[in-house]
Symmetry: C2
Subunit: 338 residues, 2 copies
């Protein structure tokens, strides 16, 4: 196949996130400035779904404020979430008078949106674009599993859906948006892979093969582990992360020394009882926006490969006996002193 | 706002569709070559959802065959559908070893996918891309309303979800893909608009204002009704189509003489009992792929403006009392004798 790696020349102009109580109480909680101080994760709304939408609105509003940009400076926004028909995004971003591209990439949506926003701005189609995504523990539990009031038991491989939204504003080189020092230089969209996993409580195992697939395609184009500081996946969690490292090792590439996962960073494994780690569109979106990209901006991380990982099943497809297809989209960020 | 119209230089290399019995029996049914001859609309599968996926697989396979291209010639595919978590696309396209961008634009997905595929190929990011979408009457009814066995009454404003899938292969100018004579020259992504419609049995009324919004933005950039042969909307149906014409007339632009709607073309209003006309992602995808684009290829239609129209609510958002947001994406096709 040709054209595997997309060459990009764009900048992260700003990034912001809004999170819930558990995320704010976690080990990197101090980096999230927007959260619901009531501790109820409702952000002043009367349903979990509306609360999720509100987080998207707050995150994009904050990203606009941080960049001193107006709505009219943003040519288009790319957004999606886990809710049926992606209503978290459709309602959350309704107040912004910005052309809207709806995405569905499950938990890979942050990477998919950043990639498309970067393509649009790198090639001069728009000066600036936004990418926004979200998830909410309570809206996801009742949609995918059972309402939280039911008190269902969680197996050790289950992950905890992050309550949070991340928003990114991406600008093209031509408009001088380099002030934050975070360049997007390459991307590679993932191919959907399905390896027979049917357990919806073990998404990490379903997503790990798709992640390895994208990473191996990327390395086959002359890239290597050694030239990057960090390879970070969206939400493979402890289970999927270990499987990814094993698959890569079997392929002759040891990524362990440079590998981490947003789902492993966001909660304290021992204290917060989140089993295999965080997941959901909001997991990688918030960790990238408020924890990792600032490290790229400061130069603490020079070259970062981000793999947004998504499990593309539905509750119905699982009930109909289908295995879980998954996808992993890759975006490369680099610190630039310019 | 800047950058309203996206300039494009790409070609429709091929387009194919697969449809159900009602669509094949309709007034333009002869143009659809792929359909389930058993009349059961299951395409050999045991659930409606799997049948919908199978239509996507068949449509893309046919489009590849028609173009004499291989999977490896396609740099990426853009796909989405109406099913929760877009499983119609994720499962239907699993056998294709092509990078996958998942979309959610409700019934605007065909236009959204064609637009993004055209951007990618016009700007040389990929040589060729595919856009695929689908809907199925039986999977949509039980997800959005009630299972068909329930026999629910339909109000006159209700539309009939098309059972069908359309697949498009879009190529860049640089790779010589001009043989079919259908150029994509411009596009404009829509802004999400919500005008207070809460009746999920009247999607046309919810989508008409968003459609007028995009069309007015387009005309404000120096374009006019007179210079095009046909303005076609995806699935406003009789109700929404009439509202669109009224809104446009109130804005001083009479589009009636050049306006039509895919949802009005696909069924016989008097004979087929489909009330306000067809709808669903598959409506505009199949009518464009197999009925309208061949007319552009032959030169019968020289300049066509296609507005993919999507209502972005979910059954849950309706139950929670929210009104229906909608979006309309515009793509311009032109006949080229080259």
């Amino acid at each position: 196949m040709k054209d595997q790696i997309i060459k990009l020349q764009s900048w992260v102009v700003s990034a912001a996130s809004a999170v819930g109580k558990r995320e704010h109480d976690g080990p990197i909680g101090n980096c999230f400035t927007l959260y619901d101080a009531t501790g109820e994760d409702k952000f002043g709304k009367d349903t979990w779904e509306k609360a999720e939408s509100e987080m998207q609105r707050l995150a994009l509003k904050q990203a606009l404020e941080d960049s001193s940009l107006e709505e009219s400076d943003i040519g288009a926004m790319f957004a999606g979430d886990l809710l049926n028909q992606c209503v978290g995004s459709a309602y959350g971003l309704l107040e912004f008078d910005i052309p809207y591209f709806g995405l569905y990439g499950a938990c890979s949506t942050a990477a998919e949106g950043i990639m498309l926003a970067s393509v649009m701005t790198s090639y001069g189609i728009f000066d600036r674009c936004a990418a926004v995504t979200s998830s909410h523990y309570c809206s996801a539990e009742r949609q995918y599993r059972t309402p939280i009031e039911y008190g269902g038991q969680r197996p050790p491989t289950a992950q905890w859906t992050v309550t949070g939204s991340g928003a990114f504003i991406i600008g093209g080189e031509n408009v001088g948006d380099g002030q934050k020092g975070i360049k997007i230089t390459e991307a590679m969209p993932g191919i959907v892979v399905e390896k027979g996993i049917t357990d919806a409580n073990n998404m990490g195992a379903a997503m790990a093969p798709a992640t390895a697939h994208t990473l191996l395609r990327y390395f086959s184009e002359g890239r290597s582990v050694e030239e990057v500081d960090l390879i970070v996946t969206g939400d493979l969690g402890y289970e999927g992360g270990a499987i990814l490292c094993d698959i890569m090792e079997a392929e002759g590439i040891d990524i362990r020394s440079r590998y981490n996962d947003c789902g492993m960073m966001i909660y304290s494994r021992n204290v917060q009882d989140t089993h295999a780690g965080g997941s959901g569109c909001g997991c990688s979106a918030t960790v990238m926006a408020s924890y990792l990209l600032p490290k790229v901006a400061s130069g603490e991380i020079k070259r970062l490969i981000f793999l947004g990982t998504g499990a593309m099943m539905s509750p119905d497809s699982i009930k109909q006996g289908s295995a879980i297809p998954a996808v992993a989209h890759l975006v490369r960020f680099e610190h630039s002193g310019e």
